[in-house]
C-alpha cells in the first residue's frame, strides 16, 4: 500500500526561482537562504528519503485560474503539467510529471469523504508549484519523482478555513493509505510565512507569530487549525493567509510528528521564509546532520 513518509514546508516565492536563474544563489542576499535549504536537499537525496510521489499543495497565482474559474481545492490528474508563462516567459524547468492513477484515486476518495474536488486534466503550473521543486531538488534534467499539483484558493476571499484544510489533510492521508500500489508519498505545504505584498502595510513581517505557528503546527495543530482568517491577516499580513496550506500537509501526517529540520529566515524579498521537514510517528528516517537554522 502507499504511505505518507514525510511532510515538507517551503516558500514558493518567484524571487527564489529568479536567484537560481541568474546565478545569485551564493551571494550575500540569497546565500543564507540556499544554505538553509542545503540540509533538505541532502536529506531528500538519501536512499529511502526520495519520495515516489509528492502531493504539492500550493496556490495558483492567477496563472491556471483567472477570474472566471475559482476552485477552492483542485487536484492535477494529468500525465504532465507545463510551467506557466507568468509574464516573464515560462520558468526554464522540467515539466512536472503527474501520477494520474494516484491523483484520480485521491480525487475519488476525497469526494466520497465530502471534499468536493475540482479535477484538472489540463493545467499549467506556476511558481507556486515549481519553485519549491527547484529549492529542494535543484536543477535536474527531470524532477526525481512524480508530482500531484494540488492548488488551493487563497487569493479570492474567502479561502478555506484552517480547520477545513487540516481535515482535508487527514482525508488525503486516508486516500493515500488506501491506494494499492507500494508508494512513498510526501505532502508538501508551500507558501508563507508572514508577508504582505499590497498597500501601505506591505512588508509586514511577524517573527514571533511565525515561530509560534511552527511550534503549534508540530505540537498542537488541532488548536492551530481553529485560528480564524482575521488573525492570519492581522498578524501575518494579507498574504500570510497562505499558511492555511501548511495545515493540509500537517493533517496528512497524523497525530504525532517528529521535527527533523527547521529553517527560518528574514527576509526573502518581501517575505519571512520557513522550511521544515516533518516525519509521521513510526517512520525512522535519520534527520539531517544540522537540525535547525533559525535567524537570531
Amino acid at each position: 500500500m502507499a504511505r505518507i513518509t514525510a511532510g515538507i514546508t517551503s516558500s514558493h516565492i518567484p524571487a527564489l526561482g529568479a536567484a537560481i536563474q541568474t546565478g545569485k544563489t551564493g551571494d550575500d542576499y540569497w546565500g543564507p537562504v540556499f544554505k538553509g535549504y542545503e540540509p533538505i536537499r541532502q536529506w531528500i537525496k538519501r536512499p529511502g528519503n526520495t519520495p515516489d510521489v509528492v502531493i504539492l499543495v500550493y496556490n495558483d497565482h492567477a496563472s491556471a485560474f483567472d477570474m472566471n474559474i475559482i476552485p477552492t481545492f483542485a487536484i492535477g490528474c494529468a500525465e504532465r503539467f507545463k510551467p506557466a508563462d507568468e509574464g516573464w516567459g515560462p520558468r526554464p524547468v522540467p515539466d512536472v510529471i503527474g501520477h494520474p492513477d494516484l491523483a484520480w484515486h485521491i480525487a475519488q476518495s476525497l469526494i466520497l469523504d465530502d471534499f468536493d474536488m475540482t479535477i484538472m486534466n489540463q493545467m499549467d503550473v506556476d511558481h507556486g508549484c515549481t519553485v519549491p521543486l527547484s529549492m529542494i531538488f535543484g536543477e535536474p534534467e527531470e524532477w526525481p519523482c512524480k508530482v500531484i499539483p494540488f492548488p488551493v484558493n487563497v487569493v479570492t476571499y474567502p479561502p478555506p478555513s484552517g480547520r477545513r484544510c487540516f481535515n482535508l489533510g487527514d482525508s488525503i492521508k486516508a486516500a493515500v493509505e488506501s491506494f494499492p500500489e507500494d508508494l512513498d508519498v510526501q505532502v508538501w505545504g508551500t507558501g508563507g510565512m508572514s508577508h504582505q505584498l499590497q498597500g501601505p502595510r506591505a512588508g509586514l513581517i511577524n517573527k514571533e507569530f511565525d515561530l509560534n505557528f511552527i511550534d503549534k503546527l508540530i505540537k498542537d495543530p488541532e488548536t492551530l487549525s481553529k485560528m480564524p482568517h482575521i488573525e492570519y491577516l492581522r498578524e501575518a499580513g494579507s498574504e500570510g493567509i497562505e499558511l492555511v496550506m501548511w495545515l493540509i500537509m500537517r493533517g496528512a501526517l497524523g497525530d504525532k510528528v517528529e521535527e527533523l529540520y527547521r529553517f527560518y529566515h528574514i527576509p526573502a524579498s518581501n517575505t519571512a521564509l520557513g522550511a521544515l521537514i516533518l516525519q509521521p510517528e513510526g517512520m525512522d528516517a535519520e534527520p539531517p546532520a544540522i537540525r535547525e537554522q533559525v535567524d537570531a
Partner: protein, 139 residues
C-alpha cells in the same frame, strides 16, 4: 440534523477586514469591481499580447471595458490605485513582470517609501506588526 455546525457570520467576517490598516482584502466585492482589470492583466501572460501592450499601451487598454480611473492607474503604474479599482496583486503581477519588475518593486511602490528604503526595511526584519493590526484597537 445530527451534527449541527457552528456558522461564521458573514457580515461580521467581512466587516473585520476593514479594520486592518493599509490593507485591502480581495473580497467578492473587489473581485467583481476588478474583473476586467484583472482579466486585462491575465492577458499579458501571452508574449504577443505583451508586445502589443508595450507598443501602444493606451490602444491596448481601450480594447478592455475598463473605467478611466483603472486605465489611468495602469498607465501610471500606480498599484495602490489599481487595487482601489479592484485589482489583485497576483493578477497585477503580470503587468509588473511585463515591465521586468519584481514583487519587491511592486510591493515597495505601494508604501510611499523609495525602493532603497523599502529594501532596507526588509533587510532589517520587515515592517513590525506593532500598531498595524487593528485601526480601532490601535494595537
Amino acid at each position: 440534523m445530527s451534527d449541527k455546525k457552528e456558522r461564521i457570520d458573514i457580515h461580521k467576517y467581512l466587516a473585520e477586514f476593514e479594520d486592518i490598516p493599509g490593507t485591502r482584502v480581495f473580497t467578492a466585492q473587489r473581485a467583481r469591481q476588478g474583473y476586467n482589470l484583472n482579466q486585462f492583466a491575465m492577458s499579458l501572460m501571452k508574449a504577443e499580447n505583451r508586445e502589443r501592450f508595450l507598443a501602444d499601451e493606451k490602444a491596448y487598454l481601450d480594447e478592455w471595458p475598463l473605467t478611466d480611473a483603472a486605465k489611468q492607474a495602469v498607465l501610471n503604474r500606480d498599484y495602490n490605485a489599481m487595487i482601489d479599482e479592484g485589482g489583485n496583486i497576483y493578477f497585477l503581477s503580470k503587468l509588473f513582470s511585463t515591465d521586468r519588475k519584481s514583487f519587491q518593486f511592486a510591493a515597495g511602490s505601494m508604501t510611499g517609501m523609495s525602493q532603497e528604503e523599502y529594501a532596507e526595511m526588509m533587510l532589517k526584519g520587515g515592517r513590525s506588526p506593532e500598531g498595524q493590526r487593528s485601526k480601532k484597537g490601535g494595537y
